[in-house]
Symmetry: D2
Subunit: 362 residues, 4 copies
Amino acid sequence: MSSATRKRAREIGIRIGSLTPGKLNAISDVLGVVVGHTTLIKGSGQLIPGKGPIRTGVTAILPHQGNLYEEPVTGTVHIINGYGKAVGLAQLLELGRIDCPILITSTLNVGLVEDAVTEYQIRENPQAGISKKTPNPIVAECHDGYLNDVQGRHVRTPHVINAIQNARKEVQEGCVGAGTGMMAYGYKSGIGTASRILSPKHGGFIVGSLVVPNCGRQGDLIVDGVRFTNLQKEETNPDRGSVEGGSIIVVVATDAPLSSRQLQRLARRAVIGIGRTGSVVSHGSGDFVIAFSTASQEEQTTESLVVNRTQLKESLLTPFFGAVVETTEEAILNALFMATTLTGRDNHIGEALPMHELSLLK
Amino acid sequence: MSSATRKRAREIGIRIGSLTPGKLNAISDVLGVVVGHTTLIKGSGQLIPGKGPIRTGVTAILPHQGNLYEEPVTGTVHIINGYGKAVGLAQLLELGRIDCPILITSTLNVGLVEDAVTEYQIRENPQAGISKKTPNPIVAECHDGYLNDVQGRHVRTPHVINAIQNARKEVQEGCVGAGTGMMAYGYKSGIGTASRILSPKHGGFIVGSLVVPNCGRQGDLIVDGVRFTNLQKEETNPDRGSVEGGSIIVVVATDAPLSSRQLQRLARRAVIGIGRTGSVVSHGSGDFVIAFSTASQEEQTTESLVVNRTQLKESLLTPFFGAVVETTEEAILNALFMATTLTGRDNHIGEALPMHELSLLK
Amino acid sequence: MSSATRKRAREIGIRIGSLTPGKLNAISDVLGVVVGHTTLIKGSGQLIPGKGPIRTGVTAILPHQGNLYEEPVTGTVHIINGYGKAVGLAQLLELGRIDCPILITSTLNVGLVEDAVTEYQIRENPQAGISKKTPNPIVAECHDGYLNDVQGRHVRTPHVINAIQNARKEVQEGCVGAGTGMMAYGYKSGIGTASRILSPKHGGFIVGSLVVPNCGRQGDLIVDGVRFTNLQKEETNPDRGSVEGGSIIVVVATDAPLSSRQLQRLARRAVIGIGRTGSVVSHGSGDFVIAFSTASQEEQTTESLVVNRTQLKESLLTPFFGAVVETTEEAILNALFMATTLTGRDNHIGEALPMHELSLLK
Amino acid sequence: MSSATRKRAREIGIRIGSLTPGKLNAISDVLGVVVGHTTLIKGSGQLIPGKGPIRTGVTAILPHQGNLYEEPVTGTVHIINGYGKAVGLAQLLELGRIDCPILITSTLNVGLVEDAVTEYQIRENPQAGISKKTPNPIVAECHDGYLNDVQGRHVRTPHVINAIQNARKEVQEGCVGAGTGMMAYGYKSGIGTASRILSPKHGGFIVGSLVVPNCGRQGDLIVDGVRFTNLQKEETNPDRGSVEGGSIIVVVATDAPLSSRQLQRLARRAVIGIGRTGSVVSHGSGDFVIAFSTASQEEQTTESLVVNRTQLKESLLTPFFGAVVETTEEAILNALFMATTLTGRDNHIGEALPMHELSLLK
């Protein structure tokens, strides 16, 4: 089944929450945000560890298209469940600042992807680590081992740089980039995204999420409040997915001027969106939420001792929390709805969620 | 409407999740746990700050009926959103140990209730703070100011001691104790509870929750996946409830032998149950989760340098997470379903959730 | 020995660190900050729990003398060791905002002092908790039970309000307020304070600390790098102090425009100043650091969606860290140096640190 | 000057604290712990980014010499200041478990070293990430850019595996492994270690620390309470060291049966040892403390639902805190005392601390 026949949640009439999506209903509705993917699909049949088959990739989220190293944005991370290998988190929490593209990839591949981002930043900023600060790559991961040869760590420096350099406003969903080999709720998952526009009373700001869901057991999926059951066939493989129970990465972007403390408050709401799709965040799930504001560009080198910052009033945050919940929930559905069936290692079949039955839900 | 006509969620056919409830479907299904309430209802009409009307109370949860000061239990707290005045949290996190009954009351009343628990523990343990350690009272709160004269701090030492001393296995729900004046999703709320039995494969342990929901805006309530809309009348007061947007306290108990780190992992899942009832955890919401294990009684005075502890295997935790989510969600529904209409200060009416319409949901 | 014969560290030639103190060498060198004490000394002889003897008190630190409830300041708390009953911390961390005077008192007295601050704020702000937000009292404590009848909780509402209302720029040190009954390193302790002026290159900002040290075992005291040994007599009571090993409260103030995240970074350095006086932060020590900036007054009610904030550049923070370390260390020494011998319950003698021997150190 | 002429702190009569060191006065006094280094020194003269000169290395600390992946130990991490790129921390905090050797290296090299540990664990455990869990490499770093070509990331997989495989009980100190290119307090630094034996009353357990100090400004060094001043020459380069102000990694080991929560309490005391050597933990310092217990080997695959664990009584922890402080302070001194002068990139000279003057201190 080609992705052309797949539809986003909203296209089949599912409307999550009450807020209005942005133009693209994507994280890139936040002005400046771009997303790039490198997708690696190669080989088939029996798993030969370190060789293949390859069903993996890498996704880059750029808060803006300038030089992030020179013009970082305000950001944070919230760890829902820390069973994951994400890197760059300590410095992000200490300084509240993102100075590299955010990368998502396969679990065992985080080291090489971190190194690739370092390489990228050194090329772009020749004094990095010499007369100037070291960049802080942020790399998150999910385990795509149900379909992919994870031991191979097939994502290499050129793939990472390609994802960064080809990032654009149109966000591809489904089995691309980091989403290539992912599974959620027993079905093929991938990349999903969604956005919401706050009311004029709340400044008309945009909140967008991008997710890589690799979580949830077969039978747990909830679609807009309704537990999804495959009517056409018995569930035969309740533990489909990785041995450790999956993970989910959520990236939240906004153009509202929020401090890192305020972004932290937003990030902590994503778990509600995740939970509404059925997950209880299992023991082995590495669930991480990275959030940033494009409006709070961080201090640059000037003579002044201080920076002037604009900050949203605290009491206005509740609708932003709602937007995080709605976009996270809808982005997860989009990741499932847009993913297509993919066969991987040992002929494991990552079956796409049956669209026909989804339509019946509405 | 008397509470006799109210029904728990399960009594009208609503079944949250897939696990089986315990005998009472209450936190007290965890052996040893008892709950006591003191309910204060007095006066009516116009608010005279500091005088009344009084619509408040206090609820005590005792992990066991022995001397907690001498035989503490393992516990923890997770702060979902820290806009609240709960006390005793720093020591609870440092030591992973609960040595006092857990109390819940009205926001501005936490100081007096803390002092009352101190008084109680001194009476029971005459050397407390002299030749022996100081007790660490744990008191959480929600803001019952829509119906109650909060400035009056009407809960006093005898009320607290009464709640502790009259704690029993049968848990009253609805407008009692700390739940007396609470509102959630625009309707009258109160005390709610629920429990789940883990499968024999997971040891047959019990997980129970007790909640005091005072959160959620009118129109946001979700009942088992379905957004609740009052068919009979227009929503006229979307901001019913406190000026700050409410709060929720969740207490989770289990008889499984869990460390404080493991209990922390359980506690962090309660937000999913909260979110599934419609809340996005608003800015002004103080959402705290206190969790304890009755099986992990803490070290006592012996000659030995070490204590021997039994601890559940980490990889078995996922079903416990599910149980926390299910019991939290169901306990919130029970709090709403069992609460009855109550008129309070300035003739504010805390209207009970219409049961007839709830029945239509099923 | 009267306090007239006691001298501050600097008066006997001890110079901690390299920065220059402010005019008063006190937390109140930070413009606007005032400190008030109520000291309670009554009775003598045998401890009659609940009656006396009384050797306790309460100290109020006001970030400014306006209405904090209406004009809160940016603040934070860092918990070095959470064996303590401090209240108000969750909301302080969530919002990064202090809207009440900061109070310090005796361990078992925190509930009543919290209630007294609530009472004070209600009187000053009649709509608090009704049509407006609830105030968030911040109360920290140390255990003065070596000299004081702790079970009596002798600090009551009038004492708290007196400390707040009589707060002034001149900070009394030694056996006053919360320091009245405290012991540190086996000697009589009390209130201590110190300040530092940052260089013009760093904006000439002020950092001040106020401490209530009740920590450290006899024999552990280090004075400016030199371990202090009482030459005149054998140590006979190594465990003098409370059964649990004491505590220390540090309050850090600055007029630099710092965010709550930046203040958190300052607060985390106080432990170095504590450690340099000899403490290893024992198991039973409740060591809390509260920090605030008078320059970052928080948002007020206007029509605008945003607040404009000035924030110090991150890379300038290191000298502030040094100032926190220096002022904390010196304030602890001042607390010991300014305290006078006091006899308390059961004729326990809290002996002042012998000044003559201290002079020999230099 | 060869390292043969260098002496450890204790060899020149400096005795930090009051506890007795273990036989080797090294982290490996904790039975089972071994340490390995790979040292890379190559080229000289002008920095050619990516090429050299090379003054770097990698250090491996193994909690035991069995298969850590199959037999993990209980561990934790405390972040004093998060300006660092350490990886593996989220999962370590979530599970309280270390299942890989701990590696320390140069800042920009963490990605490649993480990947090398992954490679090592895959080779040792062919089903890792396939039918069994993924390993969680823990890699910390300091910035050796004053002497080393950091952009080159010269530590590669064979170097890492060599450090792991050649780990032994004898711990080399000074300019080896991760310490090769490090600077502290303006002088050449390196690897340092120390240990303490608890009294029989406290079980006779061992606490050991290993440090890689790369922190502190010239002029700030304190040696056993005395500020060190180079009498022989003026300080000419106060900012010697990296542009960001350095870092320090501390690894704490013990054979006492401690839970991850208890280890966290130990880890939080290391900052006092750091502070006593003069550092105030500058803005750009990535100060991380990793702690583990060899006695608390984690759960393995058996039929039982529970594991039986022995845990030290909480009230016995204070002397362990003292041991952490003492060993951290002494290990830092050892790192400086054992390091020899090394010339690196752009002919920067990392001058060894003058031993003659140190002797005068005593």
